[in-house]
Symmetry: D2
Subunit: 343 residues, 4 copies
């Protein structure tokens, strides 16, 4: 019996239905660059889901690519984006945003979520242009980089503040599936489209081989967007590869079914950990867990499982990051739970 | 009977063996970010093919992406790249190279190929720094954007000149398969690795769903290369998608078999066109043809076939661009040839 | 008797009146960053001259700085600027524009001037976005880099074409004084303001220690401009240095008086050269001359004068570039003319 | 009697000797672009002062310009610079560094000074490339943005740590004069040259009309530096303007005499404030003071003096920023001190 990985949500390939669709449609000749029938259909399906016929939708291969194109196409050179210090763009994209010329104004937040109250001091601190950058966009994630989620009222308040202050609101949805499928989530994709200016729907971490949908709701951000895709190397000549996948994910409820499986597997692990009276670094209801376990138990678990040692808590305890996905096998979850007791 | 497309070499999906491999390996857990077993194996296969164990190899999703990362990682801000005006980076990448901060010094050449004699005047014109950029890299393509190819002696001469003048030589191999498989080509992949500093091997136009291999031969260009992949949004979390494809293409002769099919189909069309006494804009032995046909014949052909009207020649004739690929069906080629006679 | 330089128009310091003004106002406390009284007054003087009270005016230290800020603040990342191959931004600014991310679309023109007929093919060639950049601004110079000038009807036609095609028209006026003071010029600064969207008025080459005025006429280009000055390192803390100089140049006719002197000195040289039956590479009525002289005469002249060997014409003749300025001494011009006969 | 400004150290023009030198040398013909005799001589004088004949020295017009050129010429695209959150590049340059593509890794420090202990956690946090930027340079200021200074042992320790960890050390010397002239400073310019890789010597805030000297000590950072000056619009055609000023400042002890005057004036104010039992936000021995005064006293002082309200301390007290300079008149200092008592 070999080790099983809970390291992340991109350890396997794609949901079998996606490979079947790719195979079935493989030799049909199609237009290039995202103008294929499948991409068109996938966009229509998503527009229906978000209840917005006027959204502009584009498919790209990954999250960093989506983020850097959305931000650099929206901002003028002197404008900046506000993010939590935990924000993926801030910490884990090798300076991708700065490489397009823009500063990120960071805010420290333990739960990774931004509120109006967090933004106000940043705006005040930048109220003496032209000597400072001009914040013009807010970056948030749902679920966040540490598994937390926004409620509808939280998002609405942030969106309204943003619009009163000439700020765009951009939600990174690399884990949108898991976020919206969380038991305590009170939002739908249509709500996201209502209370953001632009957002992404992550495919890579939720059943696709690769792919993120960029959904632009605010008209100001739509103009010439495809030029930016091309310039940044994100326009696939075989755009069908992305169209077919999103068509498959959204032609029924597959996208959310897969996310719910991931959340369910995480919940099972979390409940078992809680039952053993272990704590968590942060309360997550999505597919990322941050349990704090004794080091000797961790060492024992590492004989059979792979996960990430996130943060040293003290001499005897460490917080882990464990991630489940659409592909997580319940038998492995059960095996993990069984081994949760120290020897 | 519907229209059949000779518009480009990315109108279909992938060679069936690739989809089969993706399906078969789909649920094996693998490391992310290109550290999967398949990518490792694919790199080993390519290193063998190019007879260079020390090359650094990376897989990315597309040609523009490969080009902008190779160039921006190699050049300092004041350095430029020399290209033909036909070079893909010059004309068809929406300013992707300039967007990373670098000027392209262009040279007009009807055949799309650069020689030492073409480069010398550019170097002389830039011999009064710091008031001008400093050329530091030469960009060539094989086959070129108009289907021509380099011979070994041409490439060697250019490479030697480049190295005597502190210039890197970068070959864009988006159509490397077709280029090296041309009947009049006298080079192998190992020759390419010998006489360039960095080159790409195109998968997208030769049987893959997507994917280009970046092969770095010159040690100077290897350092920290993966940081640039990540920063530009080119590092797939499921790098396996690219690894599996290149493993399949290079585990036997599939890559070149597919290219030879494309070339063979192009040759068949070219021979038929020549037999009718029509001319070509440029002599191509690869999978891109530029026949000059009478407008009324073109209109007739357009009822059943799709191709690109490349350039108006005179009031009665137009040069077309026709492209064949690994997926081109010989029956359609035959149908096209049959319709080559004006009514 | 030592050598005298006709190499360029920035070989001496500043017109004495400028140094006197700097000295006289030296210890008056003033606000920083261009908000001093002198800058405010200088702007008012220029607005009167251009007959446009709503123009936004900024002073910067040099031409490359002005160019890169104007262009990068106006264009979105996928937009490009059209220029003659002789344009200063194209050839002599070390890739400054590309370093801000923008491609320059170049047009070869012997006289350095662009017309509607030159621009049209560029626009046609870029009519298949998103695969190519989107031209959005035209760059011209007056006088041009080779001493030629625009007439009012030429400028008006270009401006009207630009506006019909969603292009901004930007005139680099590094040598605006000499250009507008040429005997065959039929324009005033007010005409320039009428038929461009943004232009500069060069101080460095016309009597100032340093300094260019950026005049923005089109409202679209005014927004947040000062942020860009700051970001690119162009906002002087002691902006008074520029304000005092432009105040002095424009409080009476000094700016044009100096330019007329430069032109008059050039004319005197040109007439003498013509009288000897020598030709010119280009017909210039401004302060730059490009005479074609026999090499032995050039060698003789070089014993006493400094100028630039611009271009080899044939084995026995070379075209020179000779430049006069506000500071050129007539006695040296006479001495030069006397030596114009080969031994 | 009007208001007198302690707002900053760039409220007046230049020291009279500088204007006299500019006037005296005004009409001597000189080479352009910094190749004039005065720039050459000024560089020789500085090399002597720093006891380093091999340093590469360049003059530019301002601090932001110097910072962005030094940093962007030194770093590759994926490399970052470490700075205090108070660092001028971090907060007051409108994203100038990010606009060249580079992230700033920030460290919060109340005294604005960085130590080895501050840097270590940043390096640990960035020890998992390629998913994060690679810190490659440390930015410090002396005196800092809040008036504090480094001791020789502090600088030496930081420099040694930097070199052990492949980091360049860059000192922003916009207020180098005041910093090195502080009573508690134990360093000379030669020490700065010994324990940094590159630094600047600020002229603008210490007697010049404008101008910063960039001094590159580390050979790695010298290559092609002038190309970057040109590309960023920092190469003056009349470089003599900067050369003459630095020649005047460094041909005797003028540079430090002016700084000592500024410090002396600040000390006089500080002593008077202390005598009244008021406190300071930070202990400064240089020309920037941050006294905490009662709001009603501040209001009274504002009737006659201009200074900056830096930070609200509580409901009744505010910290000010007051700056003295080479031009500060002792009579005004005395007048200020006299008014220090609340009514």
């Amino acid at each position: 019996m070999s080790t099983y990985s809970f390291l992340n949500d991109y350890t396997e390939g794609a949901h079998p239905r996606i490979l079947e669709a790719l195979t079935q449609l493989n030799l049909v000749q199609q237009q290039a660059y995202g103008n294929d029938d499948y991409s068109t259909h996938a966009k229509a399906l998503i527009k229906e889901k978000i209840e917005n016929k006027d959204a502009a939708i584009f498919f790209v291969t990954g999250g960093t690519q989506a983020n850097l194109i959305i931000i650099s196409s929206a901002l003028r050179p002197h404008e900046s984006i506000i993010s939590s210090t935990l924000g993926h763009i801030t910490t884990h994209e090798t300076g991708a945003i700065e490489a397009t010329g823009h500063k990120i104004n960071t805010i420290e937040k333990d739960n990774g979520k931004l509120t109006k109250e967090d933004i106000i001091p940043v705006m005040i601190a930048h109220d003496f242009g032209p000597h400072v950058v001009k914040p013009r966009m807010i970056y948030i994630s749902n679920s966040t980089e540490i598994g937390t989620i926004y409620t509808k009222s939280e998002l609405k308040e942030l969106y309204e503040y943003a619009h009163e202050n000439d700020l765009y609101l951009f939600m990174d949805g690399a884990r949108m599936g898991s976020g919206l499928s969380a038991p305590n989530s009170d939002m739908t994709l249509a709500d996201i489209a209502r209370y953001t200016d632009v957002f992404t729907i992550g495919g890579t971490k939720n059943g696709a081989l690769l792919g993120e949908a960029i959904v632009i709701v605010n008209d100001d951000l739509k103009s010439d967007f495809s030029f930016h895709l091309k310039q940044k190397g994100a326009m696939l000549s075989k755009g069908r590869l992305l169209g077919i996948q999103f068509q498959e994910l959204f032609k029924d409820n597959l996208y959310f079914d897969l996310a719910m499986h991931a959340n369910k597997m995480a919940r099972k692990i979390a409940d078992a950990i809680t039952a053993k009276n272990y704590k968590f670094l942060v309360h997550s209801t999505t597919n990322q867990l941050f349990p704090i376990l004794p080091n000797d138990l961790i060492e024992k678990l590492e004989e059979n499982f792979i996960f990430y040692r996130w943060k040293k808590i003290n001499e005897t305890h460490t917080a882990l990051r464990m991630v489940t996905s659409w592909a997580t096998q319940e038998a492995e979850v059960d095996r993990f739970i069984k081994q949760l007791t120290p020897n």
